[in-house]
């Protein structure tokens, strides 16, 4: 059963036939796209169809609907920060058609029951496809494997497992987990952070932390775990995925591992493509995140790694927090930034406008590869007839100051508030159902005023 199978069960509301005229995936010519009943039925030039709503998207970039392999939707348990509904809306506003939801909820998503609940919440919301991620260990405590098989077999069809927020630190547990998920083509997504080297850590260990008197989170605490895990994955012949890679050294290790033929993939967040630890001066906890913002050299190295394919995808690590968790002294503040609404704009600023990648690369790193790694069918598919119509139309030209008006989730802890970012999502289609129309998020999917 595929993801598309889910949609058929819940019943989509794609009653409108839409004809998008004149967008292009940069480098290819302008193309028309005809969408009907959730599918792309025709592409070409000069298309027409009686009864179709024509949408002029000339000059816009057309991307397959974005897929985020790493988000925190906070429900069940932390609904004050976000719910599956509000997170789905934030995702749609950012051009996403599918998001993977990390299991550090309350209760933790370590059983078939919780992951099926999350799936149902996503279906009821209807803005994006919410694919639950299952915990690797019970309660994410790192001691015993969770029922990975049950989660894989459940209606949620979990294929990605992670203890994100925590590192699977015990090497034996990590080995067993890597081996076990082979049975159902699963992948362990590791949050690489040696807990002993990062006790009480507040920010990147370096020049800035020495001056500010904040306990350091050294790069080696990430790199040493990644080095160990790629060797384990090689030894047992498993897939491995590395979450939110942040240092130059980590990029080097992944590069080395891939050269050896290790089946490893890696993700980077938009904020690690743009922001450095200098932002911690002033102790503004909006910039407190795990893994922390690193040095300028690290930002340049991960950009290069993303451009040359060492890093496979961009994933937001969207981490909503209530105001009191950020409007306080740095040490007391929570780690994390919201990122769904700003992701595409930041990737444009850091990677496309700098000439490091092109729009077809964006399609690869923000849609095709995340879907492939997460084994999510029906997403990241070609924008040709016969495929599901999850499409995003994006205007790269405007430059606007990012503000709380751009945020659609429940929380406002964004590091980009007050900062100029390029671009605007104009249309998002989730399996043919519009969720963003003319730059505005709909109140209900598919229902236009």
């Amino acid at each position: 059963m595929t993801a598309l199978g889910h949609a058929a069960e819940s019943g989509s509301s794609a009653t409108e036939t839409l004809l998008f005229r004149g967008a292009s995936l940069e480098g290819t010519g302008a193309l028309d796209l005809l969408v009907e009943d959730g599918m792309i039925v025709e592409t070409g030039v000069g298309l027409s169809r009686a009864g179709a709503t024509v949408v002029d998207v000339e000059g816009l970039v057309m991307l397959p609907g974005l897929v985020d392999l790493h988000t925190h939707l906070r429900e069940p348990g932390y609904e004050a920060s976000e719910t599956v509904l509000t997170g789905s809306r934030a995702a749609a506003a950012g051009g996403y058609a599918a998001v993977f939801a990390m299991p550090n909820t309350s209760p933790v998503a370590d059983t078939a029951g919780v992951v099926e609940q999350e799936l149902a919440l996503g279906e009821a919301a209807g803005f994006v496809t919410v694919q639950p991620i299952g915990a690797v260990t019970v309660g994410q405590k790192g001691e015993r494997l969770a029922e990975l098989g049950a989660m894989a077999d459940s209606r949620a069809r979990v294929r990605v497992f992670s203890d994100d927020g925590f590192c699977v630190w015990d090497p034996l547990i990590m080995r067993r987990a890597l081996e076990y998920v082979k049975a159902f083509d699963g992948v362990i997504a590791q949050h690489a952070q040696d807990p002993r080297l990062t006790e009480g850590a507040q920010m990147n260990e370096g020049v800035v932390s020495a001056e500010l008197g904040l306990a350091g989170w050294p790069a080696v605490a990430e790199e040493s775990i990644i080095a160990r895990d790629v060797l384990l994955a090689e030894h047992v012949g498993s897939r491995l995925h590395v979450c939110h890679l942040s240092t130059a050294g980590s990029v080097e290790i992944i590069r080395w591992a891939k050269r050896r033929g290790v089946n490893v993939t890696a993700e980077v967040t938009p904020h690690h493509l743009l922001l450095t630890d200098e932002l911690a001066r002033g102790y503004d906890a909006r910039f407190k995140v795990n893994p922390p913002l690193r040095r300028e050299e690290d930002v340049l190295a991960v950009r290069e790694g993303l451009a040359d394919g060492t890093i496979d995808i961009v994933a937001t690590d969207h981490a909503p927090h209530p105001p009191e968790a950020k409007a306080c002294e740095w040490q007391a503040a929570a780690n994390g930034m919201v990122g769904l609404e700003s992701a595409l704009r930041v990737v444009q600023l850091a990677m496309v406008d700098t000439g490091l990648i092109t729009w077809p690369d964006v399609a690869r790193i923000m849609s095709r590869e995340p879907a492939r790694i997460g084994r999510l069918e029906g997403f990241g598919t070609p924008l040709t007839a016969g495929h599901a119509a999850s499409v995003t139309f994006y205007d790269p030209s405007p430059v606007r100051t990012f503000s709380t008006h751009d945020l659609r989730g429940r929380s406002t802890n964004s590091p980009y508030l007050g900062r100029e970012l390029p671009g605007e999502v104009r249309w998002t289609l989730h399996r043919g159902v519009p969720t963003v129309v003319d730059g505005a998020l709909l109140d209900e999917p598919g229902v236009r005023a």
Partner: protein
């Protein structure tokens, strides 16, 4: 001066002004009537989230000698220990009409968060934040060095060319950081001595020299040797193996005391671990400025409170 949060951003002129005003304050402390009416009607709140009797008393004495009203707020047993946030605590003080908040907190950056939050209009004095800074300590240390060196001729002078060596747990020391920036600003040359585990991983941007050998540092005849308190609990986090080894390698014992130049001074911010980082002889010798530092602390803090509160309040966030 709107706030005093650190010495990193304190200009030479602003630092000298504080030290020179402190000279005048020190003079008034020699009179029979030590009190001045200058800050009458002003309210100074001592907002101490960490225990510290000596610093709190010093600020309290300073405020009272200027006729200000003092309110002491200690976190223990208060609503803060029950989880009240910094924001709510601050806004309560604002509602009570605090003109200045002297804040000691366990989290680096907390005074800056308070000063830039918009929750209060009072001026903020950092009395020690985590492992970040303790600006009034550095100011009273500089005042002490200057006074011992130049006596009655101190006014207007900086510390150009003087060699100051700081020994101890640099990594966790806000006193060390504040002293590094201020001493450098005043023209002194700073050397740090510590076991390698207690030096921050990257101090390449600090205007200091780092040595691991205290004997080598003593042989260079510094004008001032500043010993920092070592917390014995650091032993349990593997910063050094035993008290004995720490004391043997980095403690100021009789031999090292004798090796100092004739007019070198020995400093310690207190409280001292006698026998650990500093021997009893060193602490009680004529070179020791420990008690001077305490007395000078009141004068320096009087100067800081005066400069913060007496004039018309300007709105820019920097130290004048």
């Amino acid at each position: 001066m709107r706030h005093l949060l650190d010495t990193k951003t304190l200009s030479r002129d602003a630092a000298l002004r504080i030290l020179d005003v402190a000279e005048d304050m020190a003079d008034t402390q020699q009179r029979e009537v030590k009190k001045l009416p200058t800050l009458r009607g002003k309210t100074v709140v001592n907002l101490f989230f960490e225990d510290s009797t000596r610093t709190r008393i010093s600020f309290e004495a300073a405020a009272k000698r200027l006729s200000a009203d003092v309110i002491n707020f200690s976190a223990k047993g208060s609503s803060v220990s029950k989880g009240e946030s910094l924001q709510d605590t601050a806004q309560t003080l604002q509602a009570m009409g605090a003109d200045a908040v002297v804040m000691r907190h366990g989290a680096s950056g907390a005074p800056r968060t308070l000063a830039t939050s918009g929750w209060i209009t009072a001026g903020v004095v950092n009395a020690g934040d985590g492992t970040h800074e303790h600006p009034t300590q550095a100011l009273l240390d500089a005042f002490t060095i200057r006074k011992r060196r130049f006596g009655a001729d101190s006014r207007g002078r900086d510390l150009s060319g003087l060699a100051v060596t700081i020994v101890g747990d640099i990594l966790h020391s806000r006193v060390a950081r504040s002293n590094v920036w201020l001493l450098h600003t005043l023209g002194a040359n700073v050397t740090l001595v510590a076991p390698p585990t207690l030096v921050p991983q990257d101090v390449s941007a600090w205007p200091v020299r780092v040595l691991y050998d205290l004997d080598e540092a003593v042989a260079e005849a510094p004008d001032a040797l500043m010993m920092l308190r070592i917390q014995i609990e650091r032993m349990n986090a593997a910063y050094f193996p035993t008290e004995r080894e720490y004391s043997r390698h980095w403690g100021l014992d009789a031999t090292r005391l004798a090796g100092l130049a004739a007019d070198s001074i020995v400093m310690h911010p207190g409280p001292m671990n006698r026998g650990l980082e500093i021997s009893a002889d060193a602490a009680d010798s004529s070179r020791s400025t420990v008690l001077d530092q305490v007395a000078n602390g009141v004068s320096v803090r009087m100067a800081v409170l005066y400069l913060l509160l007496a004039g018309e309040r300007d709105d820019d966030g920097s130290a004048a």
